[in-house]
């Protein structure tokens, strides 16, 4: 083929540009409450026994997140379910990250599965002091610091769609990574923008995890 194919997010960009082989939104928000499409991030999904060597190798269990570097740059390890992890890395690193995870888990001798789900998930980030207020319009979870502090991972129903939520604050400002099955990505973004309109929620460009 002549030119490298372009990958697209399920969330249609307002102002499109191409970065790292992905079509992304180029808009930069002026306000402090933002929604960014993070779908281009590498997403590697791991299944392994929930309480044994693999858990130790990944550094975190269900319900929490941790940062790590497996040689592919900084990754966010999300304990997304019992015996289930999602690792987020920089765009374009999925293949290397998958190989690195497989290598790390191989030593455990446990039954594990590592899949590249970069294309299987839509991922957005909601950031701002009012982020929890926006979520309270569409989700029954208690987003207070006492119940869901920074580093919390959970799965629940958000605007009637099963959604994985990881709280990943940015410089002390609450920030939530939300991901759903890819096909629901546009719906999720629309639901959040609708719920966030009274709080002044704006779209901004991809922020990444670093």
């Amino acid at each position: 083929m002549s030119e490298a194919p372009i990958s697209r997010s399920p969330v249609r960009p307002g102002t499109a540009t191409v970065r790292d082989g992905w079509e992304v939104d180029a808009r930069i928000a002026a306000g402090q409450l933002t929604l960014s499409d993070e779908t281009p991030l590498a997403k590697v999904h791991v299944r392994a026994p929930f309480d044994r060597a693999s858990r130790a190798a990944l550094g975190v269990g269900f319900g929490r997140t941790a940062r790590a570097d497996l040689g592919t740059g900084e990754v966010l390890v999300i304990g997304s379910g019992p015996g289930e992890w999602l690792l987020l890395g920089a765009p374009g690193t999925a293949g290397a990250l998958r190989a690195a995870v497989e290598q790390r888990l191989a030593g455990t001798g446990e039954f594990t599965t590592v899949l590249d789900l970069t294309h299987g998930r839509a991922l957005v980030r909601l950031t701002g002091r009012e982020a929890a207020t926006v979520l309270a319009g569409v989700c029954a979870i208690d987003f207070s610091d006492a119940v869901t502090p920074d580093g919390t991972a959970l799965r629940t129903s958000l605007a009637a769609v099963v959604t994985d939520i990881a709280r990943d604050d940015r410089s002390g400002v609450p920030s939530y990574l939300l991901h759903v099955e890819r096909s629901s990505g546009q719906y999720l973004a629309d639901a959040l923008l609708d719920a966030g309109r009274p709080s002044g929620l704006e779209v901004t460009a991809l922020r990444g995890i670093a």
Binding site: F50, F62, G63, G81, P82, A140, L154, R155, T156, S157, V162
Partner: protein, 88 residues
């Protein structure tokens, strides 16, 4: 709305779960009589009081849970992961 205490996720709204039904053993398909098999399929105790049930936390941990619930009060006496036995 009632809360179901998920052994993995903590108390969650019942709407996050799918109610699977009363829990009971599947008869041996090689030897079961039609009577036994249909009793397994269709006849449930449906008591007013404690009952052992299966629930699936479809919008949460996606685990099947063995739940003991009092249908008169909705009090959940125990809820454990069907496969691993993990309890809260």
């Amino acid at each position: 709305m009632m809360l179901l205490p998920c052994p993995w996720c903590g108390p969650r709204n019942a709407t996050e779960f799918r109610y699977v039904g009363e829990a009971g053993p599947r008869p041996d398909p090689a030897s079961a009589t039609p009577e036994e098999w249909r009793r397994f399929l269709y006849v449930h105790a449906n008591p007013c009081g404690p009952v052992r049930e299966t629930w699936y936390h479809r919008a949460g941990c996606r685990r099947y849970l063995a739940v003991e619930r009092d249908t008169a009060t909705n009090e959940v006496r125990s809820a454990v992961d069907s496969a691993t036995g993990v309890a809260r």
